[in-house]
Amino acid sequence: MTIQDPAVKETLLSVEGVDTYYGSIHILQKLSLEIKTGELVCLLGGNACGKSTTLKTILGLVPARTGSIHFAGIDVTKKSTPDRIKLGMAVVPENRRLFAPMTVLENLQIGAYVRGDPDPADLDRVMTLFPKLAERRHQLAGTLSGGEQQMVAVGRALMSRPRLLLMDEPSMGLAPRLVEQSFEMIAELHRDGVSMLLVEQNANMALSVADRGYVLQTGRIVLTGPASELSSHDELRRAYLGR
């Protein structure tokens, strides 16, 4: 291993010229994006612009017909979703997708599946991050409040000690107060050095925590740049920020 200048961070994920299709419908068109270690990158765009599809393509749930995806220096374009998770991706899915009839603890344990048996140290870490979950560890996940479920979903993803955390619309379906909490949590994870791709419709919030952003429109990246630049971009403001 070579010692690198800390200012020049290595690329963790690179998506290059990817096209995806649902049946005959062309969704993503020559999409490229990049995330460096430690970065929080957000992917913005309106409804049905391909945000979720991008995330699914990175995860391998939707195949990339052209182009390539490299993760942690490995070509994962043809790898299955579980293989990619094993390499260090983790996801907080849209609508959280908790295992409702299982306890909070079991949901967290499942998060560590690719590591074999869950490490008690990882459990402690998640419980320290979210003390609420320690209280409710034996409660069924389906009976928790929206905010608590969000904590379980994030905690579950962290249990695999991911190198890249993929978040799909974490603010969706949460009360405004919880949306704010949710973004505070994301900012805190970012300060802890977790690399993240944040897919969001709430551009304001996302840009307030992100380092960089991409804007997606009908399957194409139309704009990219540092978060500060994007949030002052006229066109974007008119289209998505409502200011």
């Binding site: 997708r97 409702a100 079991e106 690719v114």
Partner: protein
């Protein structure tokens, strides 16, 4: 009716018989319920896996010198019978899944159902061809004296029934440890609830389904050996009715529910035993399906079936 039929002892004896039979049904029902949980298919070849399990146990017994000329102590022989039968049945389950169900994973649900019936016929007729149509007998009375056992008042629980009951309990306890206490068991429940979310957690669904078939089929194999030990008779069509009853037990308890399968099995065993004792042995099979219809009318999801979970 004579006094014997009305006595408390007679009732107790029938209860013991019913619970023993129920333990066997419960083990078969568990296989249906586990597979249904992960794949939402009814594995109608399951009863025939149980039959194969019973034959494996029989041939192991014969191979070890048979009951009369056993080359190993009886306890060791019985242990080996169970071990080999469970392993063999479990592997058979894996093979069935791989060749009969996996290729149809994304087909309409009717396809694996037909495939299951095909496998069932294949196993039944394969057994008929290989083992002939004659009824084999475990003949256990020659290595475990019929009088050995526990006497509680006028109720006798013979040695074999005790063995079967204890073993059924141990297997069910082991199963719940596996389901609740291991990553594969948790993964199995996760897949049953939301397969796509399970994949997103990095769970290798094929591997977990393989384990599910192994465990479910191994339990059926154990049930086959138990039936051989207690009811003695082993033949190639024995899996048909037993499979149907195991399925009924699973549905009565609530398909997909593990405690439900155990409860359904025991209820069915007791109902059958009581019917044949107090009504007529001719009705004992009918009562099974009467019970099924009654439960379906009152609780369509079965006694312990999961209520539809409202996603918030």
């Amino acid at each position: 009716m004579d006094n014997g039929v009305q006595s408390v002892d007679y009732f107790g004896q029938q209860m013991v018989n019913g619970i023993t039979l129920g333990g066997v049904y419960a083990l078969i029902a568990l296989g249906y319920t586990l597979v249904y949980g992960v794949l939402q298919i009814l594995n109608f070849a399951h009863g025939d896996v149980y039959m194969i399990g019973a034959f494996i146990g029989f041939f192991v017994m014969v191979g070890l010198g048979g009951p009369s000329h056993a080359v190993v102590p009886v306890a060791v022989m019985i242990f080996i019978m169970f071990a080999v039968s469970m392993l063999g049945s479990g592997l058979l389950g894996i093979v069935i899944e791989k060749f009969a169900y996996r290729p149809l994973r994304n087909s309409p649900r009717i396809a694996p159902l037909i495939s299951a019936l095909g496998v069932s016929l294949l196993l039944q007729n394969g057994a008929l061809l290989l083992f002939s149509g004659s009824i084999r007998s475990y003949d256990t009375s020659s290595f475990v004296p019929i009088t050995a056992g526990i006497h509680l008042g006028g109720v006798t629980i013979d040695g074999m029934r005790i063995l079967v009951l204890v073993l059924a309990l141990i297997l069910m306890f082991g199963l719940s440890r596996w389901v609740n206490g291991t990553q594969v068991g948790r993964a199995m429940r996760a897949i049953a609830f939301d397969r796509d979310a399970a994949i997103m957690m990095g769970i290798n669904v094929d591997r977990v389904i393989m384990w599910t078939f192994f465990v479910g089929s191994a339990l059926a194999g154990a049930a086959g050996v138990m039936v051989g030990l207690v009811f003695l008779r082993v033949y190639s069509y024995m899996g048909f009715l037993a499979g149907l009853k195991g399925f009924t037990a699973a549905v009565v308890g609530g398909i997909g529910s593990i405690p439900g399968a155990m409860l359904g099995g025991v209820l069915l065993g007791i109902a059958e035993s009581m019917t044949s004792a107090y009504l007529s042995p001719n009705f004992s099979d009918a009562i099974t399906f009467l019970l099924l219809i009654a439960v379906m009318l009152i609780k369509p999801r079965g006694l312990l079936g999961r209520r539809a979970i409202v996603k918030v």
